[in-house]
Subunit: 349 residues, 2 copies
């Protein structure tokens, strides 16, 4: 087994994306399964802004580094302590662990507590688009903002119906967040976009309203009857919005960001309305090996059910094949353009 | 009625606390009840850091301003729309509304939706110490940090028992927070203090551990077996602690502050562990007339029950009498010293 070739796409020196060697086709060792690991034959991966941020952090140490944290593939080997519900031959998917070598390769080792069964009714490339953005949107909406997918929000007669604003609705996380938020009864979902294509995409996914984030938000929100919203999910540049958050959020409102700030801000601005600010970082559970890291497996199994019940769709929009340095470089360039809709998947044919 | 004298203690020009005219004995008009108001004969008030901050914000406009947001007294008049469950003669207490004239006076008008019945088993001066700090601690613990007073926290076998760190346990809010947090089953409550007297006070109120906030916290927390805690309530100078929050908080931990920052901070530090930061400002409900402002009445009625059931005690430590400029100035000086334990009450004899 260990003599098998393992093709991977790696980064080495930190080069400009335009440079043909910014990604390299290499051969890396066949992975070794730790007790809780499965080894997966990678059939499709997707590329996320997280890959871009990891690439920009790469040190000039002349060592290669394999990115890629969204894998769909087949289990080919199990560690000694892996639960019996996983078997060799199972079709699985996962977003993995940013502290381990990534999935842009032919064979990949991953902690089985982060792994779930693929949806049965969609292709492997549609499956690969799901894990990281679904987990991020799920944890943000249902753990951080504490929305409830299964129960009606309690609404009293004198209370306006609750509303969620998704800043940046057209990207991968925004696309999943719109769909998952629409599973919450009585919740009004407002997404922001700046182009006709992304507006149509967000409406197709179920957004109740779309407003333009290249224009002032407050008057647009007032115009659609939501001068203040209860929940805000920030999927793009939180610095842009920070100063208007106190005026567009209701007292006791909750704000969640998945993107770091580029500068410091005066958080006292959020005090008068007793607002809450939540970080959602999908790799927290794997990075800290939390006691509940298996929740990511459970969430992805729920996502598979929702897909198979036709309640949500995969956000894959673009596929590239085969998995090689040239295509992964192309995917990174598309993400860097900030104009992508949904997700980009690389198929390992 | 309106010809009655209404003695009040007011501030006018922003003078140093040491100045004998920093507080003035004045006569103000007898208050007029708005439809939802009750008029209360003030029998005791307590002084909070909120009064001190309001005094420091006073503009040099040569107009008098009455502070005081913790009142215990008797209803003497009702507005047209006040619920029947309030009657003239009822003994009530409340923390009130920072945007209206305060309670440092003989007769005070207040929105009845913020008002509750005093505990039956304690003195009016012990009652006056309760509202603002109880509401702040209750909203922080049970609404913001989402602890549950009535149910066991769900603990799995492989999960450490949950823990709350109260930074600044000896003051008014800290004193109530320790007692209320101890009503949550399975929760370990750690308070910080810096003096022998406050340490003894916090242990008397039920704290499981007390550590010294004048020394490095991390090694002390490690020593008592809690290198990371799940919940943090900041009752004093949040700037002091901001940089260590990421290391002493568990992944997905929740931090709540009741005190504003003096400077900006890098909130990205809280991202890697997906932490949440919550503001608790007790005057949010009254300031924004939220649809649920009556919750403050409900919370205070719960506090009265807990007092009468001997499950918690009033944090009053010092009483001054009568209510006049000299005694209110003395109370402000005590609070400014940062050495008070529990609460200071002024009795209107």
């Amino acid at each position: 087994m260990n003599s098998k070739l393992n093709h991977a796409v790696a980064i080495c020196d930190p080069l400009e994306l335009a440079h043909p060697d910014s990604f390299l086709d290499v051969q890396v060792p066949y992975p070794k399964a730790l007790p809780q690991d499965v080894i997966v034959r990678v059939e499709a991966v997707s590329i996320n802004p997280a890959d871009m941020r990891a690439r920009l952090r790469k040190k000039k140490d002349n060592r290669i580094n394999v990115l890629g944290w969204d894998v769909a593939g087949t289990i080919v080997e199990k560690g000694n302590e892996v639960s019996d519900h996983f078997q060799v031959g199972d079709a699985v998917y996962y977003a993995g662990d940013i502290n381990r070598s990534g999935g842009n390769c032919s064979y990949h080792a991953i902690d089985s507590r982060l792994v779930a069964f693929q949806p049965k009714t969609i292709s492997v490339e549609d499956a690969a688009a799901l894990p990281l953005v679904s987990l991020t949107a799920w944890e943000a909406l249902f753990e951080k903002l504490a929305l409830a997918i299964n129960t009606n929000l309690t609404i009293q007669d004198d209370e306006p119906t609750p509303s969620l604003l998704i800043l940046g609705g057209g990207g991968g996380v925004g696309s999943m967040a719109i769909q998952l938020a629409k599973l919450v009864p009585n919740l009004t979902v407002i997404a922001t976009t700046s182009r006709k294509e992304t507006t149509e995409w967000c409406l197709k996914l179920g957004a109740d309203h779309v407003v333009d984030h290249s224009q002032a938000l407050a008057p647009q929100l007032s115009k659609i009857g939501y001068p203040e919203v209860d929940y805000i999910l920030i999927c793009n540049s939180p610095d842009t919005y920070f100063d208007i958050l106190p005026s567009i959020t209701r007292p006791f409102g909750k704000i969640c960001s998945i993107v770091p700030f580029l500068q410091s801000h005066d958080f006292n601005l959020l005090m008068r309305k007793s607002l809450s600010f939540h970080w959602e970082f999908m790799f927290t559970r794997s990075s800290f090996s939390t006691h509940d890291m298996v929740k990511q497996s459970e969430i992805l199994n729920r996502i598979s059910e929702l897909i198979d019940q036709k309640k949500i769709i995969s956000p894959r929009v673009i596929s590239l094949s085969p998995m090689n340095a040239s295509n992964i470089r192309k995917a990174h360039q598309l993400i860097a353009s900030n104009k992508t809709i949904g997700k980009i998947v690389i198929v390992n044919k």
